[in-house]
């Protein structure tokens, strides 16, 4: 049987290797190599556009009012995919909490924290505890910056949310244990749902025209609607239409979702450790 699976693997690999040579090289936009040279001179010349990426590069900035073309693709042109991916994260968090709450029982929900004489949590040294507290605001501020400036510079909801969740990871590691798991879980869970609901409600708000329509973009400088000049610009925060809203919603969702996973995993490890008698993580 192992031989058969090995053979099947080699056949599949063979198919893929024979195909490699026929693919386009990375960075070669399928015969449209002059995209970037034309980029600055014209505005929306639709006659020459032949592929989807070409269209995004030429029209993305003007249509969505976002300096960052990647964000305009992720949240505007393929916003429905992003909604699906956010739903996948929500799904994973739900599944993990369903599975882990069957391990975490009774006394593990209410953690009694061992503290030393000065009130610091025991376990890690004091350097780690104080260092974490000092690091935390900086990490959070950087994450929030990434989320809010998603439509101007590299970053966005998923990345910023993940950076903010590293703050939670630090807290969990340096044994600032969560005192009441149920309450913490409910809080995070509420904000996770809130983020996703804001995303989908923003989508419905454009429903007069179509779902996820960027109805705020290029709105004569009112809320998030500054008309930005083509090409390099200093970056106007008040632009991008619904993109910053969606980005923030996803940021909140990712931060809360990953935090739930981290907190539950640490507690489940503790529960497993105490069941086996010893070794606390």
């Amino acid at each position: 049987m192992k031989l058969v699976s090995l053979l099947a693997m080699f056949i599949i690999a063979g198919f893929m290797f024979t195909g490699i040579g026929k693919l386009h090289l990375p960075g070669d936009p399928a015969g449209n190599s002059n995209v970037f040279s034309q980029r600055s001179s014209e505005k929306t010349d639709t006659a020459n556009i032949s592929t989807m990426d070409d269209y995004y590069l030429r029209n993305g900035q003007m249509e969505t009012g976002s300096n960052n073309i990647v964000t305009s693709v992720v949240f505007d042109y393929r916003g429905f995919d992003t909604l699906g991916e956010a739903a996948v994260l929500f799904l994973v968090v739900t599944s993990i909490s369903m599975l882990l709450f069957s391990i975490i029982k009774g006394k593990d929900l209410e953690e009694t924290v061992l503290t030393d004489s000065d009130g610091f949590p025991a376990g890690m040294t004091r350097i780690v505890s104080i260092g974490t507290v000092l690091m935390l605001p900086i990490i959070m501020a950087f994450g929030a910056y990434l989320v809010i400036h998603g439509h101007l510079s590299p970053g966005g909801g998923f990345q910023g949310g993940a950076v903010m969740a590293t703050g939670t990871a630090l807290l969990v590691i340096s044994s600032f244990v969560v005192r009441n798991l149920q309450k913490t879980y409910k809080l995070f869970s509420f904000f996770e749902s809130l983020g996703l609901t804001v995303f989908i409600v923003t989508g419905f708000a454009g429903m007069g025209i179509s779902f996820l329509h960027n109805f705020l973009a290029n709105n004569d400088g009112s809320f998030l609607g500054k008309v930005i000049p083509l090409g390099t610009n200093p970056g106007f925060l008040n632009s991008g239409g619904i993109l910053p809203i969606l980005s923030t919603a996803v940021g909140i969702e990712v931060f809360c979702g990953i935090s739930i996973i981290l907190v539950l995993l640490s507690r489940a490890l503790n529960a497993r450790g105490s069941q086996k008698g010893g070794h606390k993580c």
Partner: protein, 519 residues
């Protein structure tokens, strides 16, 4: 508002799922009521589309975020730059299966899944599963299909493991997620190859510029294998009995629906994505492809039913029958594919190929109904006796009249006995396959006989015999919701069986026409 129906069908269950953790404290009854209302609204929206789409043959497009959502492309550009949903008769047919199955399954689960704190996970995952299947039915975008495939796979795996207190349930969930991940990765390879060549994800656009090169064939192989894997066709069927047996009964029915949707998607990719392109450049060899599908189908039929005969575990038995029934659909549609582009100007396709495809597609719908019913009744049996082993069950017919009657209906339908719906589609398959190759038709009939034998075994050992109340571990009567779910499905089986003409002319025939249309 009517032109927003496609997106509403997918987003309504999504938003309901996102709000589950918040609305969890509103009480079980209210929450169940809200979910049932949403599923009813979904079914209503789907049937609102039937007159336009199925009867008049219209195709509805919905472009996400565009200034005119009903247009396939934006003015002045020859290809779609945004995600497009597409509803034609075939995707509507898939959507109707999902709608009916989710509604009846959720009605059943209100009475059988214990109402406790964990139920909010169940309803969240269930709604996301529904949204995933609906998205897979209606999307016209390969990457969007991948996203919804992921949603349905992960929620399915979590739901298989829902009864975490049982020893094997988490393992079954793990097996399902492993298989699903392999299938979705294969699918992603295929999509990546398509995107690298044509710079688009849109199924209809890729088909219009398809060059039928060597790379396209590699992509086609990956995509079709991934779909067959998720549908549980024979060389990739080993996960089916394990996961179906450990999942709660309602989730086995949902997994079956997910298998049907992936099967429909496989047929759609065969014709709409890799079919003959409008540019006329090259063709895939439909005869070879058809024979591959036929061989897969015959193997699934035969291996599935022979494995089912020796099972003592009622759920594993039904899971192997699920594999075997998948074989019928593959056989019917495979014959259609094999004669689709024959050199005789479509004479063979008109003579019996189309009928075979109608039979295969009709069988998908019928199978979704009766298999669902059988899985749900097996849930009742498991609840009553506290075991899935047939040796531990006896005399249920004395207690549960309704369960006995609907089980009988389901068993006769799956075996293809006349007044029920399984007969109609099987007859179409036998007749048309006989004209293609008599041996295949004889194998199909033989498998039907063995199916009947194996379900008679289940019926005699668990419903007949003396009344033994000492074996019953859970004697509480079925709730209204549970009964409603069973009765709706039984009624659908009988109605489809008595008036197959209406269904075939109204839904199935337009679906096959939409599927095989050469643009």
């Amino acid at each position: 508002m009517t032109n927003h129906i496609p997106v509403l069908i997918i987003t309504l269950p999504l938003i309901a799922a996102f709000l589950q953790p918040v609305t969890g404290f509103a009480g079980f009854k209210l929450r169940n009521l809200v979910i049932i209302t949403i599923l009813l609204v979904l079914n209503g929206l789907l049937f609102m589309l039937v007159p336009d789409v199925a009867l008049q043959g219209k195709t509805i497009y919905y472009t996400m975020g565009a200034s005119d959502p009903s247009q396939f492309t934006q003015p002045g550009i020859s290809f779609p730059v945004r995600i497009v949903l597409k509803i034609d008769s075939f995707s509507l047919f898939t959507g109707i299966i999902v709608g009916v199955v989710t509604l009846t399954t959720f009605l059943f689960s209100t009475g059988t899944v214990k109402e406790d704190k964990r139920k909010s996970y169940f309803s969240t995952l269930f709604l996301l599963f529904t949204a995933g299947l609906m998205g897979m039915s209606f999307t016209n975008d390969l990457f969007n299909f991948f996203v919804f495939l992921e949603i349905s796979s992960i929620s399915g795996a979590a739901l298989v493991a829902y009864r975490t207190y049982r020893k094997h349930a988490p393992y079954a969930g793990y097996k399902y997620i492993l298989i699903s991940t392999i299938a979705t990765t294969f699918f992603l390879f295929g999509v990546g190859i398509c995107y690298a060549q044509y710079g688009s994800f849109n199924i209809q656009y890729i088909n219009s510029v398809l060059a039928h090169s060597y790379l396209d064939k590699v992509a086609m192989l990956f995509i079709i294998v991934a779909m067959a894997m998720k549908a549980g066709s024979v060389p990739m069927h080993m996960w089916v009995p394990d996961t179906y047996a450990e999942a709660p009964a309602s989730i086995s029915a949902m997994l079956k629906a997910s298998g049907m949707v992936t099967l429909c998607a496989m047929f759609r990719f065969t014709f709409s994505l890799f079919g003959p392109s409008s540019s006329g450049a090259g063709k895939i060899n439909y005869e070879t492809l058809g024979w591959i599908v036929i061989v897969l189908g015959v193997l699934s039929m035969f291996i599935g039913v022979t494995m089912a005969l020796i099972q003592h575990d009622v759920r594993r038995l039904m899971a192997f029958h699920a594999v075997s029934q998948t074989g019928y659909m593959l056989l019917g549609v495979g014959v259609g594919i094999a004669v689709f582009a024959k050199g005789d100007g479509g004479a063979a396709f008109k003579a019996f190929g189309k009928m075979a495809m109608v039979g295969g597609i009709f069988h998908i719908m019928n199978n979704a109904f009766y298999k669902n019913l059988l899985f749900l009744t097996s849930g009742v049996m498991e609840r009553r006796f506290g075991t899935r082993n047939l040796n531990g069950m006896i005399g249920l017919g004395h207690r549960d009249t309704l369960t006995t009657v609907v089980f009988m209906i389901g068993a006769l339908a799956i075996a293809g006995i006349p007044p029920f719906n399984g007969f109609d589609s099987k007859l179409l398959i036998y007749e048309s396959v006989y004209k293609f190759s008599p041996v295949l038709a004889i194998i199909a009939m033989f498998v039907s006989v063995m199916t009947l034998a194996s379900f008679m075994k289940v019926f005699y050992s668990s419903f007949m015999g003396p009344r033994r109340d000492d074996l019953i571990v859970e004697g509480a009567p079925l709730t209204k919701g549970t009964k409603a779910g069973l009765i709706i499905l039984a009624a659908l089986i009988i109605l489809t069986g008595l008036f197959p003409g209406i269904i075939v002319d109204g839904i199935i025939e337009p679906a096959v026409t939409a599927l095989t249309q050469i643009r």
